[in-house]
Symmetry: C2
Subunit: 222 residues, 2 copies
């Protein structure tokens, strides 16, 4: 019966999360704040991408960041040092952010209208997949060092994502990574996936990512 | 009340898992099978380490592998191709292996006495930490590409582990990774942690890992 109780409880937890996510989405849309939920394995480069993005956009956009980690303030500190407002959520044993936590963080951030909200999820390629946070889009990041087979082995998150970033392209000369195969596997799982290849620390491909963000903002504004 | 039910259910799930783990441990000790539970982020190099280890030891030891992944048979296939018996567990939405699944896989494997059992967990640096599978030791693997701050950000698994492998040392010239800091952070979380630095694909440091395994086996046999 523990299994039955587990199934029922999971449904309740996801149901509750859906209601909080809807509230977040309504608030964000009302204030024309463009929100992204960024998900990857630990160390794929989420915070590095955000600090590079803040450097590129902070003069044109009001940028707010919610950081999710089991422990430490390290990521929020890196974000603040690059010039954006950040709230750090420590999830303790929690393996993903949920919409309830994100709702409180949005209240604390009190972001200006027409800005951008980046939500960096806990480093985990499995558990964040079913948890809507109220974002406009889910972004999954994979680094070339992790191997091209990941979309086939962790299909749920690649299916749930709208955009895929393949990071650390500067390391391609030193690792055994087949880019074409990786793109093929990702599209096999999710044909609608938009894919951007970049290096967050060296800057290659970063402009394509920045243009994509701007395009979503103008779409919203029109 | 969902939260209270959640806490109670988690206790039941962990309690149930503990009983299955104890059964596994009793079986493994009775048959003098040395079992390791290997945990890391997706793509840190667990399967690569296992294939290299099988190449080094298959002529001296009976090696059995349990592979855990959300989806696909890719890892079990790589293990069989390197010359060891392997069972693939597909966890679907599951983000970690549990002792019940491992117990059935051991039955299917029916490993010879005095052999070795490597259990490669689902690629996840958070959720496997509290789940005892009946192993002799937990091994956490971190690759140099993921960043030296990981022990501070994902403390539970570094605290739960007995041995830490720092993999992909061949990439050190190309990444910004501070080895001394990483070792310092890991020991801060878990002072008893044994740490081995190696490259699973290039072979550097592999002998230290192989010697450690042999040492545990002779300890057992004496
Ligand atoms: N070579 C290279 N290294 C990178 C790149 N992006 C990030 N890194 C490195 O990868 C490591 C992890 O980067 P982070 O930005 O902390 O990764 P993260 O996804 O935020 O990690 P978590 O928050 O723990 O999940 C650090 O050592 C970064 O310097 C890149 O494009 N190329
Ligand atoms: N340069 C380098 N690459 C490595 C090393 N070990 C593994 N890799 C590469 O890292 C990628 C992932 O390796 P895997 O062995 O599949 O990693 P894993 O931990 O088993 O991945 P999951 O099972 O999905 O969690 C592959 O492209 C490997 O070739 C290493 O020591 N050095
Ligand atoms: Mg980060
Ligand atoms: Mg593997
Ligand atoms: Zn989880
Ligand atoms: Zn989990």
């Amino acid at each position: 019966t523990a299994d039955l109780r587990l199934v029922q409880l999971e449904k309740d937890v996801l149901g509750k999360n859906k209601r909080y996510a809807a509230k977040n989405r309504q608030y964000l849309q009302q204030h024309e704040i463009f929100a992204l939920n960024i998900i990857s394995s630990p160390g794929s480069g989420k915070t590095s991408l955000l600090t590079a993005t803040i450097d590129a956009l902070k003069d044109q956009l009001d940028i707010n960041v919610i950081e999710g980690d089991q422990s430490s303030q390290l990521d929020a500190e890196r974000i603040r040092n690059s010039g954006a407002k950040a709230i750090q959520i420590n999830t303790g044993k929690g393996c993903h952010l949920d919409a309830h936590q994100v709702g409180h963080a949005i209240e604390d951030l009190n972001p200006a209208d027409k800005g951008v909200l980046f939500i960096e999820n806990v480093g985990n390629l499995v558990c964040p997949a079913p948890f809507d946070l109220g974002e406009a889009y889910k972004v999954v990041m994979l680094s070339v060092t992790e191997g091209e087979d990941k979309p086939l082995k962790y299909p749920d998150i690649f299916y749930a994502a709208d955009l895929m970033i393949i990071n650390k392209t500067d390391l391609l000369p030193y690792v055994d990574f087949n880019m074409d195969k990786c793109v093929e596997y990702a599209k096999q799982i999710n044909p609608n996936l938009i894919i951007i290849e970049l290096s967050a620390t060296k800057g290659d491909g970063l402009s394509e990512w920045v243009q994509w963000i701007k395009a979503q903002l103008t779409l919203k504004a029109v």
